[in-house]
């Protein structure tokens, strides 16, 4: 009887094909075993057709040697390492007449088995194996002996070679590791070696990335930058150069640092994109996309207390403004017809659209849905699981914009055109994917309004929006308008969109409630989950207050700090945890948790803080002030000293530059119960008169209804 061993590394995509092949093997009198690396339960096969078993060595049964070998082996070799450690498989392959690899990953395992069972045929694929079975020929003893000798010698030689290669790799890894790169002599040697002439690009680039990585980890970013830059200058291929510099920048970003060579990497990618643009727009789009991924990385803008974008948008974005490919992404394509005026003979058709986040839309939707002269539709691009992926791919948008047309663009047209045809006005909340997609094609006669909040100004999406197809851009504060127009100069060009500053829609009437007397000593923060909220600034204020009066405490309202976004966030989270571990047991800090009833949570807060490094408006602070808490606002550093910021948005006496100043203001405002109550009442009156929806809605009426 012929025995057949089929090795499968992954569950077959065509199980019916396998079953039919097993039937054919059986009809030829063969006994078949299927050895699989995956769970054999995933391959329900009649035991009469074949014995099916898994041979993966379970995690707990892997010894140190196997773990180490699996750790460094390429994917296909792993399959063999598992097979070699399984006595059942060993027995089967030694006895088999025919060895069959069912998939590409199993080929190496079968290859190794065939070296050890020189009698068996070894085939890739079921049909070739069946043919071999049908045409089995007996080999001469001499031929088989020759093969046995060659196989045995090969096994020994390969083992020795593998060991030698491993030794060389280990040596090289150590020689280019952190220890050597932290040593000035080692760093000098490698920085010169990596720039030696006549080294092929692919070796030079690998070495450069390795050296850069080691130097960064050794805390020597300048050495890292020198090594990467020296190598890049010697690399001929624009693609490889961009790749080396990008990997170097990414390595530093992963460690939470602003890469020394950030702009070099961005420029290299954009140079590559510009050179590719005339002949391969897809690859050009991929290069621009990599440049934007670097420039929009959250480590640069969101998980640190500063951002190169807010410091000098022009300088930060200069490489993009100089690049043909990047400029093409936001090129004006215009529209055939201007937006039609608000209809007078029928209700205005208003499409309100967003992607996922509708937090700032509830009051707006409620107001206009209630109006007889407005017909409202709401579209969240995330809602439909079929079209959702279309809204999540910046690179697909870039590809379309550079190519001029694409199947992706056709799908967007098919998806959004009916909405554009229906709507008189499209109100796009957040200047991100939604805005880019609604301006990808000519919007017809629909008026397009885009509201930009804050984070978008630091992101790539606004650079994919065609503002020649946008009629109005709404900002929620003057300082965001300043930053956004610096980031997007096309907003202020002739024939650009109308620019509005309209406050966020907030129903503040729910917040004023009486507060207990001891609320006077309770500081509060609404939202502290990110580095940008800088809750440690609040803790600093609290420490200063408690030096004077231990009755002061801090309540943190909202979801816990999220330290999973990046290394800097993790580092910040560690320090915050340390603060909390010290202060919470003393009762000085309390985490209130997330709540749907913010007005109730604010009832116990006597002083509301805004400690963020940047805010577009800070609804949480304004809600706190509405509740009657005394507002204390840090002069948001991203905007401090500029024409607009916290100091121009709020009354001057609310704002403090330092924790000391903040503590002084709090001590003064809470010195007596009366002063505290009076200050709170005044703040509440101010915010209700200024920012309650009953007041601010007129701005939206003017915008949407032309009132």
């Amino acid at each position: 009887m012929t025995t057949v061993l089929i090795v499968a590394a992954t569950a077959p995509k065509q199980p019916a094909v396998l079953i039919e092949a097993l039937e054919r093997f059986r009809s030829r009198g063969a006994r078949v075993t299927v050895a699989c690396l995956f769970n054999s339960a995933d391959l329900p096969i009649d035991p009469a057709l074949a014995e099916v078993r898994t041979f993966a060595v379970p995690g707990e049964k892997r010894d140190a040697r196997l773990r180490k070998a699996l750790g460094r082996a390429p994917a296909n070799r792993k399959v063999w390492l598992h097979a070699r450690h399984n006595s059942w498989v060993r027995q089967r392959y030694r006895a088999a007449d025919l060895l069959v690899a069912l998939d590409a990953r199993a080929v190496h395992a079968v290859w190794e088995m065939a070296q050890r069972n020189t009698r068996a045929g070894a085939y890739y694929g079921l049909v070739p194996a069946q043919k071999a079975l049908d045409a089995r020929r007996t080999e001469s003893v001499g031929r088989r002996l020759e093969r046995q000798v060659a196989a045995a010698a090969g096994i020994g030689a390969r083992g020795a070679r593998r060991a030698a290669v491993q030794t060389v790799r280990t040596t090289l890894r150590k020689a280019t590791g952190q220890t050597v790169m932290s040593n000035p002599a080692g760093a000098w040697f490698w920085t010169h070696a990596v720039a030696a002439p006549r080294v092929p690009d692919r070796f030079r680039s690998k070495l450069a990335v390795r050296l850069h990585d080691s130097a960064v980890k050794a805390g020597r970013p300048a050495v890292a930058a020198r090594a990467a830059s020296a190598a890049a200058n010697r690399i001929n291929s624009a693609g490889t150069r961009a790749d080396v510099l990008t990997k170097a920048a990414q390595a530093e970003l992963a460690l939470g640092r602003v890469p020394t060579g950030l702009h070099d990497a961005i420029r290299a990618q954009l140079t590559l994109a510009d050179s590719l643009l005339p002949r391969d727009s897809k690859k050009a789009a991929a290069a621009v996309s990599r440049a934007w991924s670097l420039a929009s990385n959250r480590v640069l803008h969101f998980d640190r207390l500063t951002s190169p974008m807010s410091e000098d948008p022009g300088a930060f974005l200069a490489p993009f403004r100089e690049s043909t490919a990047a400029r093409k992404l936001s090129a004006k394509r215009g529209r055939l017809a201007p937006a039609a005026p608000v209809p007078t003979d029928r209700p205005l058709r208003l499409l309100v659209t967003t992607l996922i986040n509708d937090n700032f839309l509830q009051e707006i939707l409620e107001r206009y849905r209630a109006m007889p002269n407005v017909e409202v539709r709401f579209l969240d691009l995330y809602d439909d699981p079929v079209t959702r992926p279309l809204a999540l791919s910046g690179s697909a948008v870039m590809e379309h914009l550079l190519a001029g047309e694409s199947s992706y663009g056709a799908k967007i047209e098919e998806w959004l055109r009916p909405h554009l045809d229906w709507a008189d006005t499209v109100f796009v909340d957040w200047c991100q994917a939604t805005a880019a997609l609604f301006t990808l094609h000519d919007p017809g006669s629909a008026r397009i309004i885009v509201r930009l909040h804050s984070f978008e100004a630091f992101n790539f999406w606004p650079h994919l929006v065609d503002f020649s197809r946008v009629d109005d851009v709404v900002f929620v504060s003057e300082h965001l308008k300043d930053l956004s127009t610096a980031v997007l100069p096309q907003l202020t060009e002739a024939h650009g969109p109308r620019l509005w500053v309209i406050d966020n829609a907030m129903d503040l009437q729910r917040y004023p409630r009486s507060k207990p007397a001891d609320a006077r000593f309770t500081l509060g923060m609404v939202g502290f989950s990110s580095v940008a909220k800088d809750p440690r600034w609040a803790i600093e204020v609290l420490r200063r207050l408690r030096e004077r009066d231990e009755r002061y405490r801090l309540t943190l309202i909202g979801s816990d700090f999220n330290n999973r976004t990046s290394k800097p966030a993790k580092d910040y989270g560690k320090l915050l945890s340390k603060d909390l571990a010290e202060l919470e047991p003393l009762g000085a800090v309390r985490r209130y948790g997330q709540t749907d009833d913010v007005p109730a949570a604010l009832q116990e807060v006597g002083v509301i803080l805004s400690t963020s490094v940047r805010e577009s408006f800070h609804c949480g602070l304004v809600e706190g002030a509405a509740s009657g808490a005394v507002p204390v606002v840090r002069d948001w550093p991203f905007f401090a000293g500029k024409a607009h910021g916290a100091r121009t948005l709020f009354p001057a006496d609310w704002v403090a530059a330092t924790p000391e100043e903040a503590a002084e203001r709090i001590l003064a405002a809470t010195a007596t119960e009366e002063r505290w109550a009076e200050a709170g009442r005044a703040a509440s009156e101010h915010v209700l008169k200024t920012w309650d929806w009953t007041v601010t809605q007129t701005g939206y009426d003017r915008l949407l209804l032309d009132d």
Partner: protein, 470 residues
């Protein structure tokens, strides 16, 4: 490349002229182009030529499309065939022949192989054959000087060997381009630009070609537009059918109570989504039409190659459809074609592409005299060929509901068709019998390179930009 010209004595000293025919896919390869290649070679012999066919070894076809020795039976015994030991390494399935490197990363190994191949000649898979083909044509020419070289593409690497013989010995040549190279026949646009490596090869070789054959008018039109100065050398030489493939269809009276048998014969070279649409159409028709509900649908031909032979998504779809009366029966040897067609009541013509694709299948399907159901784009060249066929359902595209109507329509035609209808269908196809198509084309080539050997027949080409007329 060398500009050396070595004058060799031509065979035209009074004896038979000699043509070298680069025809990779020549019988016994069980490849659809084998029929065209065979008929071309036979026509040369019939016109008094010695012909040496250069193809690749039989083992190579075993790996890919398989072998059909019955195809060789109709090759004129005077045709000399040289089989080169060239084989597609990527389709190797004997793991003992793999290097360790290949076993560790089969896909990566093939990718690197492709890169190496394309460095030799800008054609994936076949580019690496360039030097062996060049050496082979030079060797054959040295042994038996040639008066003409005809290169049938694909593979396009044949162009390199063609050029080599021209460059070194100035042997006139013609290109049977069939589907064309710089044209994306499926997508309908340009496959590569004129200044790309492939583009430069194509324009260089076409420049000196005495004739360029294409299988249909749209492809010929593309080439005439791309190379206006060569327009008068571009000819349409259609594919055709072989008389011995046709079944006897007289006196048929299918029994509607027993249901009918629909058939498809050919390579399953379309996408799984395409096949799914046809099978969905079949299912809808079975739901709505009682005759189709009692009928069967047989698919015959090659599916996949190498390790994926008959082990791909197409096979899964066909197996899933077994419950709906669909079966897959593997390839059909040429000798069994007539019997296979004869066992069917209607044919399902599944074709990829659009206006630039004709395929050889359409002629054979048409000539059977059986009802033909079109499953292809509406704007497909097959629709031009089938126009006027009395038992054709018409092209409706690939919408399953419309295809379902076509299945019902084909069933009605199969039940109602008379012998007269079937005869009329065959008569319409008659002009596409292979000898009728290829005879004049080969005669024309003969006149171009040896004006006296074609006897006193009138010039075959009436107008230089039109078809080579039968």
């Amino acid at each position: 490349m060398s500009n050396r010209v070595v004058p060799l004595p031509r065979s035209g000293g009074g004896s038979r002229p000699h043509a070298i025919y680069l025809a990779i896919g020549f019988p016994p390869a069980a490849k659809s182009s084998a029929y065209r290649l065979r008929e071309t070679a036979n026509q040369f012999v019939a016109l008094g030529w010695d012909i040496t066919v250069i193809t690749i070894c039989q083992e190579a076809w075993e790996r890919e499309y398989g072998l059909d020795h019955t195809l060789s039976e109709k090759v004129d015994p005077r045709v000399k065939v040289v089989e080169l030991p060239l084989i597609r390494e990527d389709l190797e399935t004997d793991i003992r022949a793999f290097s360790e490197e290949r076993s560790l990363d089969p896909a990566g190994w093939i990718k690197r192989l492709r890169q190496r191949e394309q460095k030799v000649f800008p054609e994936p898979v076949f580019g690496g054959w360039r030097y062996e083909l060049e050496a082979a044509v030079l060797r054959v020419h040295r042994e038996h000087p040639a008066d003409l070289l005809l290169a049938s593409c694909a593979p396009y690497v044949n162009l390199a060997a063609t050029w080599k013989l021209w460059e070194e010995h100035k042997v006139p040549y013609a290109i049977d381009f069939r589907d064309g190279w710089s044209l994306d026949v499926i997508g309908g646009g340009e496959a590569f630009t004129r200044d790309s490596v492939s583009g430069r090869w194509e324009s260089k070789v076409l420049e000196h070609a005495v004739a360029v054959w294409c299988v249909n008018d749209p492809i010929a039109g593309f080439y005439r537009e791309r190379y206006p100065h060569l327009a008068d050398r571009v000819h349409v030489v259609r594919n055709g059918y072989d008389e011995d493939s046709l079944p006897d269809v007289t006196g048929r009276s299918p029994d509607p109570a027993a249901g009918l048998t629909f058939g498809y014969l050919g390579s399953v070279n379309f996408t799984p989504a395409f096949l799914e649409s046809v099978l969905d159409g079949w299912r809808i028709a079975r739901r709505d039409d009682p005759v189709v509900a009692r009928s069967r649908f047989e698919v015959r031909g090659h599916i996949g190659a190498g390790p994926a032979r008959e082990a791909n998504r197409h096979m899964d779809l066909l197996k899933e459809a077994a419950a709906d009366g669909v079966s897959f029966g593997g390839p059909v040897p040429k000798a069994d074609l007539a019997a296979t067609y004869g066992s069917w009541d209607a044919l399902v013509l599944m074709l990829v592409g659009g206006r630039f694709v004709t395929s050889g299948k359409v002629y054979e399907f048409m000539a059977t005299g059986l009802p033909v159901l079109s499953a292809h784009d509406v704007d497909h060249d097959a629709a031009n060929i089938l126009a006027g066929h009395p038992l054709w359902t018409g092209a409706v595209g690939l919408d399953p509901h419309r295809l379902a109507n076509s299945f019902s329509e084909a069933a009605r035609m199969a039940l109602k068709a008379t012998d007269a209808d079937r005869r009329a269908a065959r008569e319409l196809a008659r002009r596409f019998a292979r000898p009728a198509v290829l005879g004049p084309a080969v005669r024309h080539l003969t006149e171009l390179v040896r004006p006296t050997t074609a006897g006193d027949s009138t010039p075959a080409v009436a107008a230089s930009t039109e078809d080579v007329q039968p």
